[in-house]
Structure formats: structure tokens, C-alpha cells
Amino acid sequence: MTFSRLTAASAAALFASAGLLSAQDASCPIKVGVLHSLSGTMAISETTLKDTMLMLVEQQNEAGGLLGCEIEAVVVDPASDWPLFAEKARELLTVHEVDVIFGNWTSVSRKSVLPVIEELNGLLFYPVQYEGEESSKNVFYTGAAPNQQAIPAVDYFLEELGIEKFALLGTDYVYPRTTNNILEQYLKDNGIAEDDIFVNYTPFGHSDWSTIVSDVQALAADGSLVGVISTINGDANVGFYKELASSGIDAADIPVVAFSVGEEELSGFDTSNLVGHLAAWNYFMSADTPANAEFIAAWHEFIGDDSRVTNDPMEAHYIGFNMWVNAVEAAGTTDVDAVRDAMYGQEFPNLTGGTAVMNVNHHLSKPVLIGEIRADGQFDIISQTEEVPGDAWTDFLPDSAVLTSDWKDLGCGMYNTETETCVQIKSNY
């Protein structure tokens, strides 16, 4: 007790003395903007991330703050309204003058914020798995790119399960569309005929799944093994899995791998009929490591509810925030350009074991995990890869295959390796 207080005090003193040098660079308190919807349709997912950020900030302050300053979290509510995201980002950067923003969930909200962040040279940490095909100088993507989630999951289907026909079911918006485009090309490259790929898009919150499920079942009529790749988002999953269960589709008959179904989503229904279906993420709450146990305990204590689950985007914020803290300490300032340079090559241990590394394309190297749904709403991790570096531009679409992103040496996020020119410095939005 006394000892730990002593170390904390000495650490604080150490930081203070180190901070003196850069006191003119970092004005106290250091402000961290949190741009997550607290109301509207996305509040369901994003509120958890806001709480995660508050917890991380609190932990960092207890550990002595940053550069001798307290960290202050500035929380705003963009209310799941995409134009409002841009407005609130501008407010954070110009009115509250935050040093960094952690936020966004949907791709469209990120696209809404991008022009503002780039115009004002802000810094955004984006924690959710997304469709790739983007690289911004001012954004660090701590969630999975398609090659860190979708491609390994399809590999698992092809290699481990021997799936011969694929049903790509998704909600009709940009993440499923782009991911499915990439996957279709990838499957064709792997010798799956175009006729053996069934694609369907449904609206947000879709509830009438009977026809689609029987369409999927009909695929198996030629004796092929059918697998479903689901990018179905949010609530609609409830109806989809209920229909699967009532049609008696067992994971052994038609396995479903989902990219948007995690612990949080599974708490919305009874999983006893879904045992054996799959999900691919970079993190599962059931990961058996000391770091994860500690993180879960801290989360339960912070939120005051032992039944709350943790999920992949929370881990992304955990890694992103800690990397940012380390980068700020390395740079000795919160200045965006200095911090960005210090971010490259930053390493931080994953909660699932191994080490995440920030690459020059602003994406992380992270392991890919595949989990089977258990009856208690958690996942059995049945496959864990080595760290996979995130790829901003997919190798499986001809237009993107020639592009690469390197903000450190090339200073360009959209560099055409064939013509050896930078297509554009700003990102595409």
C-alpha cells in the first residue's frame, strides 16, 4: 500500500520533471475528445466505448497522468446523426481544442468526420472493424481491416471446414458491400465458381428472414457444403439467428461466420441453439490471458456490473489509447505531427497475447481469432493466427491492389506502386 503510493508519487515526480522540458508544448490539462453516439440507433454499441475511454483515462490519471498533466476526457454526443459527427468533431477541435479524438463506429460517420479532421489536422483513433480502402494521415485505424478479419475467416472456411458454396448475407450498407466485393474476388481466386456464391442484402433491422434462410438451404441441394458469411448488422441478427435455429440448421450443416456479432450482440438472445456457429474478431472476452483477466476485472469495477461483457472494439480502444499515451511520452508533446511520427512502430501487448504493432499505413498488426459460439453467449477460441498486418488497400480488387499506404517514408496514403505516384494526399471521402 505505502510502497505503491510511494512509487506512484515518484513516478509522478519523474513525469513532472520530464514534463518540464516540454511544458510549453503540452498545455495542461491534456484533453481527449470522445466522439461516440450516446443516443440514437448507434448508442447501443457506442456508449460502451465511451465508458471504456472514461475508464482508460481514469486509469492513466491514477498512474500519474501524462507529461505531468491530468488527462481530461471531453465527451460529446453526435446522436447517431452523421452530419452531426462532422459538426461535433469541429467543435472538439476548435472549441474544446482537444489533442486527440477517440471515436466513431459506422463507416459513414467516419467519412463524415474525415474532411474536418484533415482540414484542422486533428488526430482520430477509429476502433471498429471496417471495409478498408481508405487511409487518412489523421486517422489511426485500430480495428480490423478486411485482411485481418474477413479473409482469415474465409480461409478457415475453405481450409478447415472445406466449404464449397458461400452465401454472403449482409445489411445493405458500405461495410458489407465492400467486404463482400473483396470476398467474392478472393473466393473466385480460390477456385470457387461465381454460381456458387449467393449474395443477399437486407435493410437495417430486417426481421423477415424465412425466405432468405430457405434460399441458403436450397444451395446445399447439389451436395456441396454451404457456409454463410454474415455481415448482418445489429438487431437484424436476432431475427436471422432465430430463423436459423427454428429451421433446424445446425452449425454442422451450414456454419455461419459473422463479422459483426460479438459478445454484446449475443446478449440479445438465447444462444443455446446457435452453439458451434462462428465469429471472427481480433479479441474475444474468453481469451485466457492475465492481461485480459485484469482488463475485464477493471471494466467490471468501473461500470459496477459484473454481467457486462467486453468486446473487440473495446480492446481496440485499449490498445489505441495506450499507444497514443506512449507516443506522446516518446514525443514529449501532444502536437499531432510529432505524435504521429512517434506512433509508427509503437508496440503494445494485446489482451489475447502477443504484441500489436502500429504500421506506417496507420493500421495495426494484430492476431485474428475465430470463435465458436457457446451456450453461455461467449466464444470458444478455436483458431488464433500470428499477428497479421492490417492492409489499407486490399490486394484482391484490381483497382486497389496497386495502391499502398506509407505515411512515414512515402508520406502518402494512396500511393500507386505501378506509376509510382501519390494519387492524393487527402483521403477519399
Binding site: E91, P115, D172, V174, R177, N180
Partner: protein, 408 residues
């Protein structure tokens, strides 16, 4: 003009207040004044002016003509899409030509177009321009689209609806179905307007890359203010004089006006289409300030909010619509933005981000029940006290409220 002002004394008041407000904002803005008002707030105010404009249009079609359209935000959104297409195209064209110019061989026109298309549509996994974008390279043609697309849609829809004498609640629901169908259509990636992502980065005006947003925002603010002023004048003219009387007559008793020999459908169609065009223009000014337009903006709820603003502000009064739109939308962003302090009741803490919508919903019921004239009614009370007028106000009269809306 003088006659118009005489019949509508509110015009002078309105224009005067609007001018004073604009000058005040200009003196406090970052680019042109002290900087007391942040750029993001200038944008909010500019957007609010556009909302006021579409609210006036809504007031004319509902408060004066008695058509409760639950689809006017569709026209607003279409205007935004029309201008957004040009903004995206022109901006991307600049980027692409700069990038292709450095190649060893000059690009063919086809290559330039393909590169623009894959930049714009890469995000939705396509790389070709749909036919919708045929005119996107021309500002003039797209500006024409801002007027033509909402206008034509309103004309066709209105003609179909009014011709078959769909009125009252039925019409409201049909207009709602129209906006729902449109938003569902646009939600599809295959619609050619980038699906759920919509058009983004609209605040970056092509060719003005070097101009800071603080200047752009104040410019748009002024343009929006001028548009609002002109819109106010236009609609004040429409609802005054003989045509205004006929329009109000249609609201109060459609059958009687028809028996008097007026072509009711023609008047309704004119008002419906005109207000749709103005809504489209307002949208074209709104979305470059908002920065992004997507199908959620056209969802039925948006149009219902529009009706709510007008009802709270006071129907049948142009200034009522302005007051309603400005106050409710600004209050809304103040409450949801966490600006309002939480109230601690001891046993429960009221957080306005959670409870604002409950308050809005209930206050809306209260206004409908107890103050059908809305906030504008208060102004009438004051005006009445200062200069009692012999003529009745132009709002729906008691009998109109009670009987003929129930024709269906």
C-alpha cells in the same frame, strides 16, 4: 411591393430582424469579426436558416393550403443530392487530374472519367458512373437539377394524388410513403448515389481549396439568409392577394371553393410544386454546410419533424414557421449536445440527452392540445394589443380546425 408590405406588416419586421441578426453574427464570427462565435456554430446557424426556409414552405403547403405533407424533406434532400453530385464530381476531378497529369502519357478523357468514378464509387465497390451522374460535371446543369428534380417529382406525385381527390389523412400517408420509398431506394448501394454512405465531404468547395472553412461558413450563412429573405417575400406574395384567398379557401372548405368555379387541383398542384422547389433550394444550401447527405436525411421522421416545427411555431403565419424551426432545432441540438445541465432529483438524475425527446414529444402534444396557434400565437396576442385589427388573422379558423380537415 408596397401593397404586399401593407398587407403583410410582418415582412418589414422579419427582414429587419434577419438583417440585424446576420450583421451580428458576422461581427462575432471568426473570419470576419471577433471570433466569439465558432465556425461550427456559424455553420449551425447557417443550416438553421435553411431549415427555416423549408419550414416556411411547409407552412404554406400545410398552414395555408391545408395539405399536411409528410414528405417535404424528400424534396429538401433531393436538392442536397443534386448539388452534392456536382460538389463531389468537381472536387474529385481536380484531385484526379492533378494525379494523372504527372503520368508519362497524358490521359484519355475516358481514363479521367474512370478514375473519377472509381474514386467516388470505390467506397461502394463500383467503378462506373451510373446514368444519374450524366450532368454531374456541369454546375449549371446540376443547379437546374436542384430545381427540376424536386419540382418534377412534386408535379407528378401531386398530379396523381390531387387528380384522384386523395385528401386529408390519406394524402399525408401517401406523402409519407413517397419519402419512405425514396429513402429506401437511396439506401440501396445500387441506386448510384453511394447508398447508406451518401455524398460526403461537401463542405470542401471545389476550386476554393485554399479558402478556410471559417470564410466558407460565413459566406454560406449569408447566402442562406438571402435565400430565406427571398423565400419569405415570395411566399408572402403567394399567400396574399386573391390567390392567397383562394388557397386559404381550399384549406377551409375545398368543396365550396370548387363550387365557386375555381380549379382547386390546379391551385393545390401549384402550391405543392412551388414549395417543393423551394425546399429543394433550401436543401442545396443546407448540405454543403452540413458536409454530408445520406438517405437517413430523407427518412419519414425528418418530414414529421418539419411538421412539428411548423405546428409549434404556429401554422398559417410565415414568421411562426421560422420561429418554430429555429427554436426547436437549436434547442434540440443544445439539449442533445449535452449543453443543458442535468437535473438531480435525488432519487434519479435526469440527463437531458436521454430525456429531451420525451420532453419534445410531450410538449408537442401539449401545443396541439392547448395552443393550436403555437408560439406565433403569442406574437399575435402582442400585436393585437398594440394595434387591434378588424380583420381576422390568416391562420386556420376554428371551424377549419374542427370540421373540414375531417372530410376524409
Amino acid at each position: 411591393m408596397r401593397a404586399l408590405v401593407r398587407s403583410n406588416p410582418s415582412i418589414l419586421w422579419f427582414l429587419g430582424l434577419l438583417a440585424a441578426f446576420c450583421l451580428g453574427v458576422t461581427f462575432l464570427a471568426e473570419a470576419t469579426g471577433t471570433g466569439a462565435i465558432s465556425t461550427s456554430f456559424v455553420k449551425t446557424l447557417g443550416k438553421t436558416l435553411c431549415l427555416c426556409l423549408v419550414a416556411i414552405a411547409m407552412d404554406v403547403v400545410w398552414g395555408y393550403c391545408g395539405i399536411l405533407s409528410l414528405g417535404h424533406m424528400a424534396f429538401f434532400g433531393l436538392g442536397g443530392y443534386a448539388i452534392g453530385m456536382w460538389l463531389m464530381y468537381a472536387r474529385t476531378e481536380i484531385i484526379v487530374s492533378a494525379s494523372l497529369a504527372s503520368a508519362a502519357i497524358p490521359p484519355t478523357p475516358q481514363e479521367v472519367e474512370d478514375a473519377i468514378a472509381s474514386q467516388i464509387f470505390g467506397v461502394v465497390g463500383a467503378s462506373e458512373f451510373p446514368w444519374l451522374w450524366a450532368f454531374a460535371d456541369s454546375l449549371v446543369l446540376q443547379l437546374a437539377m436542384v430545381v427540376l428534380v424536386p419540382g418534377l417529382l412534386a408535379l407528378v406525385f401531386g398530379w396523381l394524388a390531387f387528380r384522384s381527390r386523395v385528401t386529408g389523412v390519406y394524402l399525408s400517408i401517401l406523402t409519407q410513403a413517397m419519402t419512405l420509398a425514396l429513402s429506401l431506394y437511396l439506401f440501396q448501394n445500387a441506386s448510384g448515389l453511394r447508398g447508406n454512405n451518401g455524398l460526403s465531404g461537401l463542405q470542401n468547395i471545389p476550386g476554393l481549396g485554399g479558402v478556410p472553412q471559417s470564410v466558407v461558413s460565413i459566406a454560406f450563412f449569408w447566402v442562406s439568409a438571402v435565400a430565406l429573405a427571398l423565400g419569405y417575400l415570395l411566399f408572402a406574395w403567394v399567400v396574399s392577394g386573391k390567390m392567397g384567398s383562394v388557397v386559404r379557401g381550399i384549406r377551409d372548405n375545398e368543396a365550396r371553393v370548387r363550387f365557386l368555379g375555381y380549379h382547386v387541383e390546379g391551385f393545390k398542384l401549384f402550391v405543392f410544386t412551388l414549395t417543393a422547389i423551394v425546399a429543394g433550394l433550401a436543401g442545396a444550401l443546407y448540405y454543403p454546410q452540413a458536409g454530408i447527405i445520406n438517405p437517413a436525411e430523407i427518412a419519414p421522421i425528418a418530414s414529421i419533424y418539419l411538421a412539428v416545427w411548423v405546428a409549434i411555431g404556429g401554422r398559417g403565419r410565415l414568421y411562426g414557421a421560422v420561429i418554430g424551426a429555429a427554436s426547436v432545432s437549436l434547442l434540440s441540438s443544445w439539449f442533445t449536445g449535452g449543453g443543458a445541465p442535468d437535473i438531480d432529483l435525488g432519487f434519479y438524475e435526469i440527463q437531458w440527452t436521454d430525456w429531451w425527446l420525451v420532453l419534445l414529444g410531450l410538449s408537442f402534444v401539449a401545443v396541439t392540445l392547448y395552443a393550436p396557434k403555437g408560439i406565433g400565437g403569442l406574437i399575435d396576442l402582442v400585436a393585437e394589443r398594440r394595434a387591434p385589427s378588424r380583420s381576422r388573422d390568416l391562420g386556420p379558423d376554428a371551424s377549419a380546425l374542427r370540421k373540414t380537415e375531417a372530410a376524409e
